[in-house]
């Protein structure tokens, strides 16, 4: 079996938006999106000591190789990085197009995603990729198992849990409640450097620059502004009458 895990390299610490390009500033240090570590962990858990191959796939700047190396150090077998100057500014439509092309080459039985990107808070990519691959998709997986070519997923929803089954090949996005990602061992870190890594350009995927980046996107950032500030906030110390003060406040705001 083959499992592909899509991972994102995200800026470390507090993210900033570059006022010039109106894009996220990706010039500083970055790291593996921690929600994607859950997906890598789940792939490794499913692999166990079988001969399943775990491939980590990322689209991003050259520095995204650092995040792929971390996934390899955790235990993934191989890495694929799609990097190209023409990728900058890709929205959902463009990103899913590129990622789907990279995944088509892999023909994995199972494609895993983490539940969101910690930088831009995106939590939708898997469904677009699954649609392009024409595969079934299940998101918010809090439990995952595979038997006889069928994947069984416990999906968390607003209303409780759904148990969903689908035949492989399939796309699954895992929630961060599914596992506790391992830390790479020293041996894993040393070994990661020797594992195979492919670096692909848009041309390698048979895509034109007009199909990716800002040119291939259908949404745009128009302006950046400041969110409205809260009105006159009040802070009191409880002198024994705080409960009454809260009731008065709620009455004043016409909430009771």
């Amino acid at each position: 079996m083959k499992i592909a895990v899509c991972v994102k390299h995200v800026p470390e610490g507090h993210s900033k938006i570059d006022p010039g390009s109106k894009r996220l500033d990706r010039s500083g240090e970055g790291s593996l999106n921690h929600f994607d570590a859950n997906a890598v962990e789940e792939a490794l858990r499913l692999k166990g000591d079988s001969d399943t191959e775990v491939v980590v796939v990322s689209m991003g700047p050259e520095k995204a190789a650092d995040s792929l190396r971390k996934a390899l150090a955790m235990g993934a077998d191989r890495a694929v990085l799609v990097t190209d100057a023409a990728l900058a500014g890709s929205d959902l439509v463009a990103t899913s197009r590129v990622l789907a092309k990279a995944l088509e080459r892999e023909e994995a039985d199972l494609v895993l995603f983490g539940q969101q990107a910690s930088d831009a808070d995106g939590a939708v990519l898997w469904a677009a990729v699954a649609e392009r691959l024409r595969r079934p998709v299940v998101s918010q997986a809090s439990e995952l198992s595979i038997s006889d070519g069928t994947v069984h997923v416990k999906r968390q929803t607003e209303f409780g849990y759904d148990v969903i089954e689908t035949k492989l090949p399939a796309v699954v996005a895992v929630s961060d409640a599914i596992n506790e990602p391992r830390y790479p061992s020293l041996k894993g870190i040393m070994g990661a450097k020797k594992k195979p890594s492919d670096i692909l350009s848009l041309a390698d995927l048979g895509l034109d620059a007009s199909e990716a980046g800002e040119a291939g996107s259908k949404t745009e950032v128009l302006a950046l502004g400041s969110p409205p500030a809260r009105g006159d906030a009040r802070k009191i110390e409880d002198d024994g009458n705080a409960a009454q003060a809260i009731v008065d406040f709620l009455a004043e705001k016409r909430l009771i």
């Binding site: 939708v124 990519l125 259908k218 409960a243």
Partner: protein, 321 residues
């Protein structure tokens, strides 16, 4: 503008979030708004949509469409958009709706702006408002082409009854794609909740570590009952097993924006803040005067919640008489 709004239902109830988006779309006042209902036995719900501003309701009713899975709904929406030429499709965020919106974007090669808190028409141009980077920046986003797809944060709009007319109801039959029928729901475990669900509640009383022990959640529950609200929880207490995941508010739980949010023993870490800061009025009780929650509370009370909350509940009950 020819606008389509995806109406989500659970059982025989239309979800308030999607009705809020419908009311907002109707309020933009640029052309008629059509709602789409997909599922088994949903035709009975169509008339309600008229009250929230739908001039027309397109119904895709079939038992095979009842399981809450996204891909068959992508098939339905794609057909409706392509056959009837809608240029705008709006969704209220949910586990289900996010996957439908994203799948539809790929199917139609259409732009999807997600996590929007508002939308406006600026001289005929549709502009989405997206709070980003832990809501420190408000980004205006647009679409370069039609169809335009938008996914709104839950609770962005009140479900105000704006319309009165009976909507025109139209049935649609859709041939489903093979990959859209592959996944099956084999079991559902629905959480029993006593009060309103947190995403639909006007009032939320949420508890954090400061409650001190799992059984102290009764303080939050009693206060919620007195206020007619629902109970929420932080990730820390859900992880600790004090309260069910369905109540979790924050980055890895639900995003809520009730009229009143009461935070009990919650420090206000960024993880939690992103899930509740768009609440209209925030009241926080915490014994640590330096807790970050006080930076974004309308009324901050520094004190022992174990003293204050029972008194508060009593006063509220007394008021109700």
């Amino acid at each position: 503008m020819a606008t389509l709004v995806f109406l989500e239902h659970h059982g025989d109830e239309l979800q308030k979030g999607s009705l809020g988006v419908l009311a907002k779309a109707a309020g933009l006042g640029d052309g008629d708004v059509t709602a789409v209902l997909v599922g088994g036995g949903v035709r009975a719900l169509a008339a309600q949509a008229g009250k929230y501003g739908a001039a027309k309701v397109i119904v895709a009713e079939d038992a095979s469409l009842e399981p809450p899975l996204p891909q068959a709904r992508v098939d339905v929406l794609a057909k409706v958009v392509q056959d009837d030429g809608y240029d705008t499709v709006l969704f209220a965020n949910s586990v289900l709706a996010a996957d439908i919106a994203s799948g539809l974007a790929a199917r139609l090669d259409a732009g999807l702006n997600w996590d929007l808190a508002d939308v406006s028409l600026d001289g005929g141009t549709l502009v989405g408002k997206r709070p980003a980077l832990q809501d420190s920046v408000l980004v205006d986003v647009g679409w370069k082409a039609t169809p335009r797809l938008a996914l709104f944060r839950s609770g962005s709009f009140d479900a105000v009854e704006t319309g009165s007319g009976e909507p025109q109801v139209e049935d649609v039959t859709v041939e489903l794609e093979a990959h859209s029928q592959a996944a099956k729901v084999v079991d559902q475990q629905l959480e029993e909740s006593s009060g309103p669900s947190i995403e639909d509640a006007d009032v939320i009383v949420a508890g954090g570590r400061g409650l001190g022990a799992p059984d102290k959640f009764t303080l939050a529950e009693e206060l919620a009952r007195a206020l007619g609200g629902a109970v929420g929880a932080t990730r820390a207490v859900v992880d600790a097993g004090w309260y069910p995941y369905a109540a979790q508010i924050g980055q890895t739980g639900k995003t809520v924006s009730p009229k009143l949010y009461v935070a009990l023993g919650i420090s206000g870490a960024i993880q939690h803040k992103v899930g509740m800061q768009s609440s209209n009025v925030i009241v926080a009780i915490n014994k640590d005067g330096n807790a970050p929650i006080f930076e974004f509370s309308d009324l901050g009370v520094v004190g022992d919640l174990h003293e204050i909350v029972p008194k508060l509940t009593q006063l509220l009950e007394a008021r109700k008489g």
